[in-house]
Amino acid sequence: MRADVSLVRLASDRTVPRDLFVPVVYSLAAPRKRFRLRVSSPSDVERAARFGVPLSLFEPSKVRALGYPVEFPPRLLVGRSVAEAVDGPYAKVLFSNEAAALHPRAEDLVVAMLFVDWLGARTLTRRNLDRLSLAYLGRRILEENAGARAYRVRLDQFVPEVPRVGTPLDRASLAELDATIYERAIGRGR
């Protein structure tokens, strides 16, 4: 046996695009029409989000905007409750907090980064200490069960709520992570 997750239309959803919300046929006696969501492009994600589906695209451009130059295949940030009903080419990062999946704040992007590149999450945090709410970040790390990843890169140095789970990186690794500037605009740093 397994759980079978699907989406249903709300009263406020007059019509739903069939290219996005694919009907699932159960039986003629089924009381409500059920759908699976198929997202294949950034615009699909935006359209689905407008229907209130808790998801958004975690793109490298959002990380670069926070000062960490990185490239990775975009991920789908998606609420855990609906994740099973979402198909498409994107790997998913599941969030328990659906509001954060739909409208991620900078702190939520740090949490998402812990599931893509936890070494990068430390850099992202250090470079944005002045703009992050560390209290909110701490709550979100716990909420998404990312404590071991956060402690691995010693985010507890900035966020006291991070639990001491597992083995943290050695000092030499942290020093190298913190010291490295990979790319810079010409004219800087000379």
């Binding site: 198929r38 490298p60 670069r64 130059p69 990185v70 490239e71 990775f72 295949p73 991920r75 855990r80 994740a83 979402v86 198909d87 498409g88 080419p89 994107y90 790997a91 998913k92 990062v93 599941l94 969030f95 599931f115 893509v116 590149d117 936890w118 070494l119 998404e144 069960n145 071991a148 990843r149 691995r152 789970v165 597992g166 083995t167 990186l169 050695d170 030499a172 690794s173 942290l174 190298e176 992570l177 490295t180 500037i181 990979y182 790319e183 810079r184 605009a185 010409i186 740093g189 000379r190």
Partner: protein, 208 residues
Amino acid sequence: MGVSEEQAREVVAFFRDHDVPTLIIGGVAIVAQGGRATEDVDLFVATRDFAGLEDAISGDSRVREFGTVGSVSKFYFRLRSRRVEIRVDVLNPQVFSGTRSGDEFFGFIWDHHSYDSNAGRMAKPEVVWYTRLLVPRMAYRDKIAQDIENGAPVEWLDRALEIARHFGRTKIARSRALEVTKLLGTLGVGGPPTTPPTGDPSGPHRKE
């Protein structure tokens, strides 16, 4: 942004202009298999070329802040294509050659564990992982674990251990491979909350 293949090609061409053959290693070689992009370019040169590297390239106006610490030479390279400088690390393969010479290692990797890419001669991923197993700093095991989380096949680790066996570094490589395995378990890599794509057979990594 991460280093693109085109930018890596520009760096390799620069070395070629100075008659220094290079092997691309590090994140760029992993990206070539579809993984997360890297932010720098790591290269092997033959050990015989490493000692004279500063004389060979540091006078070029595209090279900034050339410096060597131990077996790594680092500098910033001014790209023609963008108004940025990227970090280039050049490694002496001697560090990884165990019981053999650095030049033997370079030749072995060139002949058996690399291929011609658009950017230049590119080490296969197992070479990158082998080097990551031998570097003492723990974060290099994390890089392997992150690659695995992002879809890299664990079999690359077996191939890295084959290279270790060839160069008499089995003991240290195996113990650090075990670190990777433990790390995967501690961090829950491979299970929720990240899940692979559905409805599309092509993952972020190509299987070889």
